[in-house]
């Protein structure tokens, strides 16, 4: 055939006969896949994460110094640091944080418990599904912040309405993900339980729930974020203590330095929530392939 006469060979190996024409072949040992072009860039890539924040900080500082940014609208970075130190020394920040975290944690605990229970029931039984699912799907579409005025009327203005709001907001992410987690357990595994003589209860506890856990934890992760959101909303509309109160008070006095301290604290809380849930996942799901992604 022509393939032979053309002098071409398919693959060149170490023991192959001398090749007359190699112009039709490309050398894959020089493949761009192998070339480690960005090795140095890769090693220091974590530094890149700080590039944008540092740039923003620089613009902020320089802008303030040159008078482009009015200190009444946005206090310069140095003042914000001073405000943080001041709040820490007076203990106001610690008190506010403690009050807020306690509210968020209480509400979160209730929300997770309720969402988890209903999610498991609705996921496991058709009856539970019919009773709960459509109602919850309906309530889910209500933005929970819209409930604040009603909660003030119902539960007053102390801790109760805030905790309840957080709980209500947290039920749904936990419920939805638990429900999906239970429903999505591989039916083939359930057959295994059946063929090896597991009781219905044993199948639930040994197969369904452990394998629904990754979904549950996704829900809990969402709920933790939501709990902060709900707390901010509740505390800024009416409160006499807590982080939201601190921020609103500062805003009334046009103390943007304190407002920014508060906002940054929320960001830090969000970050620590993420770290906590990663730790919990690594602890509870050692069998998962990609639990802790680097």
């Amino acid at each position: 055939m022509t393939a032979d006469t053309a002098g071409g060979i398919g693959i060149r190996t170490a023991v192959s006969a001398p090749v007359t024409r190699t112009s039709e072949l490309i050398d894959l040992s020089q493949s761009s896949l192998r070339r480690d072009r960005g090795a140095i860039l890769k090693r220091y890539s974590w530094l890149l994460r700080f590039l944008v924040p540092l740039f923003v900080l620089a613009v902020w500082q320089v802008g303030s110094q040159l008078g482009f940014i009015s200190p009444r609208k946005l206090a310069p970075p140095a003042l914000v640091v001073d405000a943080a130190i001041e709040l820490l020394q007076s203990g106001d920040l610690q008190t506010a944080l403690r009050v807020s975290l306690l509210r968020a944690a209480t509400g979160l605990a209730w929300g997770i418990s309720i969402g988890l229970s209903i999610g498991v029931i609705a996921g496991l039984s058709r009856l539970g599904d019919q009773i709960f699912d459509s109602s919850l799907q309906m309530i889910r579409t209500i933005p929970f912040i819209a409930l604040i005025p009603l909660f003030i009327v119902w539960f007053g203005i102390d801790d109760a309405p805030k905790i309840i709001l957080v709980a209500v907001a947290c039920i749904f992410p936990v419920y939805l993900n638990t429900y999906a987690g239970v429903r999505n357990v591989d039916p083939k595994l359930l057959e295994v339980g059946r063929t090896f003589g597991l009781s219905r209860l044993a199948i639930i506890f040994q197969i369904i729930l452990p394998n629904a856990l990754p979904g549950v934890l996704v829900g809990v992760r969402y709920a933790m974020g939501t709990s902060l959101l709900a707390l901010v909303a509740a505390e800024q509309i009416n409160a006499a203590s807590g982080l939201g109160y601190l921020i609103m008070n500062a805003s009334n006095e046009i103390r943007t330095d304190i407002v920014i301290v508060g906002v940054m604290l929320y960001a830090l809380l969000g970050l620590s929530v993420d770290m906590i849930i990663r730790g919990v996942e690594a602890l509870l799901l050692p069998w998962r392939v990609t639990v802790v992604s680097k």
Partner: protein, 252 residues
């Protein structure tokens, strides 16, 4: 040996005799999915300790039959007698991902039977004792299937149901698994029902080969070649041709 009855009692049927030496007894089994008749009055008796291979084209109902024997599907008609103690190896390993390998092996065993030692013994038989603490997702396909085999055998079943257990494995692993199954069968002597579409595999492993055609037994062959078997003998080829012909494959 006592057999457990899976079917509803058939009309007019007396107490079926559960004679000694019977591994499985199916009579008049009918099963349809919608309009499609999958099993059409199937009769089959397997002796205790007998290695039977079940061949058939895809859609011939061989997996349905196995699922009926595993109590994962019901029959529309007829009676099904199987030993109470039976286990299954599926096409996929189906290990519980949240259990370590040794806990997977012990799945469903009761109280005193659930010992680490017992799991280790079973894993040793499939040469995986050193993987006892591994998570299933870290195993290769062949390793996971060997764990599934250990899980099936640890309960000393009287009937072992194998649903194309080697189909998803690479050719080399498949050969090794076939040897392993033959060896484990020799050692434990359960009745085996191997569902497969691999004619060579059925001749290498089974005492008896049953071909399912149109929901009934179309061909029922005994394999007389002594073990261990080899493809080199003319008997092998003759039987292979016969089986392939019955499956509608014309061999030149």
């Amino acid at each position: 040996m006592s057999l457990a009855e899976l079917s509803r009692p058939t009309a007019g049927g007396g107490r079926p005799d559960t004679g000694a030496g019977v591994g499985v007894r199916l009579s008049g089994v009918k099963k349809r999915f919608g309009d499609r008749v999958v099993l059409d009055g199937l009769d089959l008796e397997v002796r205790a300790g007998e290695f039977t291979a079940l061949l058939g084209k895809s859609g011939s109902g061989k997996t349905t039959l196995l699922r009926i024997l595993a109590d994962l599907d019901t029959v529309d008609h007829g009676s099904v007698l199987v030993p109470r103690n039976r286990s299954v190896v599926f096409q996929e390993p189906r290990l519980i991902p949240s259990y370590r390998v040794w806990r997977n092996v012990l799945l469903g065993l009761k109280g005193g039977e659930r010992t680490r030692q017992r799991a280790n013994q079973a894993l040793d038989e499939v040469a995986l004792a050193d993987h006892a603490d591994a998570w299933p997702h870290t195993l290769s396909g062949g390793e996971a299937q060997r764990v599934a085999l250990a899980r099936a055998l640890v309960r000393q079943p009287k009937l072992l149901l194998l649903d194309e257990p080697f189909a998803a494995l690479d050719a080399l692993t498949r050969l090794r698994m076939q040897d392993l199954v033959a060896e484990l069968w020799r050692r434990h002597q359960p009745a085996v029902l191997l569902v497969t579409h691999d004619v060579d595999e059925s001749i290498l492993l089974a005492d008896r080969i049953v071909v399912l055609i149109d929901g009934r037994i179309g061909l029922d062959e005994r394999v007389v070649q002594p073990r261990p078997r080899t493809r080199a003998l003319p008997e092998f080829d003759a039987l292979r041709r016969k089986l392939l012909n019955s499956l509608g494959v014309v061999v030149p």
